[in-house]
């Protein structure tokens, strides 16, 4: 049996997720030993149009991206979105709430007319996605788990409960008890609540759970003296695309 062929593509993103894959070390030897990587701009020269699994990083931010991702979708048997930009739109979508022309000029200066950008969106807004590896950046262990499941023909386990679950298992002091705000109660778990463990709070990089209680989130923000406007900003940091849709 020949090994499944894997191609890695990037759209609008910081390549942080690809870096996580490069950094896989032992885990990567095991799993990547079972596949053949045929296209990966960040780590190799060769390119191939024949692949089974496409790993896609980054958001879709212009018409040209759409054509490219559709072509990838047609060739790939399995398409996996990796990282917040690809799974939920992520940081890129902050600009969706600003004037597009202004943003374009701000980023590309006098070359702005070369780039026909539009509102940023996740990969799933353009083509069907078979699995998401959430996070900004992705969690390496989770990436390996998802890839493994897909190679074994199983449905990958992607939690649909809040970060608070991971946080309790990690034995953290809930930051709410210390009078700080946290997006954990509406954010999808799977990261082990690493930010809280390290002394920060959750800013929601993995996107919201399927059925987030936004009424409760607003109430919670209010209790911490955070205004509706600031609250929206907090949600839009990563989930601007989802927020527009709601």
């Amino acid at each position: 049996m020949s090994k499944p062929r894997v191609a890695i593509f990037d759209f609008a993103g910081c390549e942080g997720d690809q870096l996580q894959i490069v950094n896989l070390e032992e885990g990567v030897l095991d799993v990547l030993g079972q596949v053949e990587i045929v296209t990966w701009r960040e780590a190799m020269k060769e390119q191939s149009d024949h692949y089974d699994i496409a790993l896609v990083e980054g958001s879709i931010t212009r018409k040209g991206d759409e054509e490219r991702i559709k072509a990838i979708r047609e060739k790939a048997k399995i398409l996996v979105a990796i990282g917040a930009c690809a799974t939920i739109g992520g940081i890129n979508c902050i600009k969706n709430f600003q004037d597009e022309k202004f943003v374009r000029r701000y980023v590309y200066g006098d070359k702005a007319h070369w780039y026909n950008t539009y509102a940023a969106r996740p990969v799933s807004a353009v083509v069907p996605v078979d699995a998401n590896v959430h996070g900004c950046p992705i969690n390496r262990e989770e990436f390996v788990q998802v890839l493994k499941a897909l190679l074994q023909g199983k449905k990958p386990f992607i939690p649909d409960y809040p970060v608070c679950v991971d946080c309790k298992k990690a034995g953290n002091v809930c930051v709410l008890l210390k009078g700080q705000f946290c997006m954990g109660p509406v954010t999808r778990a799977g990261c082990g609540a690493c930010c809280i463990t390290e002394g920060a709070y959750c800013w929601g990089c993995r996107g919201l759970v399927d059925d987030p209680n936004m009424d409760a989130a607003r109430e919670l923000l209010g209790r911490f003296g955070i205004s509706a406007g600031e609250a929206l900003g907090q949600i839009r940091l990563y989930d601007g695309y989802g927020e527009e849709a709601r």
Binding site: P162, G171, A216
Partner: protein, 356 residues
């Protein structure tokens, strides 16, 4: 030191030496620490956590309540159960081997452990749990500080008759130490500077306990906890479930921090070449949205209010019918840690009792 003592006195200095002796004999001792000693994150002080101790100085006996109950040593957040080979097929169960002394467990948490013992020894018995339990020594301590949300005094959980190996009560200049098992009796022999308790000292212990119970009564169930099963009868459609769960995040905190909640999920991790793998379990909770989801996507409790209500019925009625226990010991952890502050059992039960 006399022969067999059921109620002994140990001086404070003696207790210190006792802990040092346990550590010297290479026992793994887990005790309550201020969380700031565990996490080093600024602002984490004033919260208590069970963690291994290396010296008697690290041990706190005057804590109010820990964030996570001692169940984490009997039913760990993640626990590997077995490993397997697929070709040729074979299975090897993991057997917990560690001996543990948990030093400083409040009576309500011991009652919760006694309840878990009952649940996990009922057929089909849970060998992993029972093995860990057998290897765990429990040294109880009566609370001197009362957690702001605690209400154990009205849940019949202010004192406990069994389930501990030793039980300590701080009566001022020394501790009364009650022996609860053979294991406890032999541990006591290791403790220096002990003597039999005098009747006045036993009376002093009663006084200390009564005093603590009174302070805990600041939050209380407005009726006898034994009425709970009948109170809940016919309250399934009460407005309170919808009303309160409106702010429920389905975050499971109220389950995971509860000393009587024992639910877990079992998952397999199969190696990439499909040759071997392992099975592990991890904490689960009935408030999580996919808890009652079954193959095919159906969900028995797809609505927040259904899940929210389910927990109160389990605490006050279901477990009682099955095992004869009220599955809330009044530790107040769920009340204090719920992000929306809607999980407090006394708020719900007292309102149902008022009938409004």
């Amino acid at each position: 030191m006399g022969g067999d003592m059921n109620l002994a006195i140990i001086e404070k200095e003696g207790l210190h030496l006792f802990v040092a002796e346990l550590l010297r004999r290479k026992n793994t001792v887990v005790g309550v620490k201020d969380q700031s000693a565990v996490s080093s994150i600024p602002g984490d002080s004033g919260f208590y956590t069970y963690a291994p101790i290396n010296s008697p100085e690290e041990l706190t006996l005057s804590f109010d309540v820990t964030l996570i109950p001692p169940k984490k040593y009997l039913l760990p957040a993640y626990e590997q159960l077995l490993t397997f080979n697929l070709s040729p097929g074979s299975i090897k169960a993991d057997a917990p081997k560690e001996e543990l002394i948990v030093f400083g467990v409040h009576p309500y948490d011991i009652i919760a452990i006694n309840q878990m013992d009952k649940v996990f020894s009922t057929v089909p018995q849970d060998n992993h749990y029972l093995e860990r339990r057998k290897r765990t020594t429990i040294i109880g301590v009566d609370p001197v500080k009362i957690a702001p949300r605690a209400f154990w005094s009205s849940m019949g959980a202010d004192t406990v008759a069994g389930g501990f190996d030793l039980m300590l009560t701080d009566i001022g200049q020394c501790y009364v130490m009650e022996v609860g098992s053979k294991k406890g009796a032999s541990l006591l022999k290791m403790a220096p500077k002990t003597r039999e308790a005098a009747p006045a000292e036993v009376k002093e212990r009663d006084k200390v306990r009564t005093e603590a119970r009174k302070r805990c009564d600041a939050n209380r169930l407005s009726f006898s906890y034994l009425e709970l099963p009948s109170l809940l009868d016919g309250k399934e459609e009460h407005v309170i479930w919808e009303e309160k769960s409106h702010l429920c995040f389905s975050c499971g905190t109220c389950n995971l921090v509860c000393p009587t909640c024992y639910c877990f999920d079992v998952r397999d991790d199969v190696s990439i070449d499909l040759k071997k793998g392992s099975r592990y379990r991890t904490w689960d909770g009935c408030l999580l949205s996919d808890f009652a989801q079954v193959a095919g996507g159906g969900n028995f409790r797809g609505h927040r209010a259904d899940r929210y209500r389910h927990r109160f019925y389990r605490k006050g009625q279901f477990i009682y019918r099955r095992f004869g226990d009220i599955a809330c010991v009044g530790c107040g952890r769920c009340s204090a840690q719920c992000p929306s502050d809607i999980a407090d059992p006394i708020a719900v039960f007292n309102r149902l009792k008022e009938g409004i």
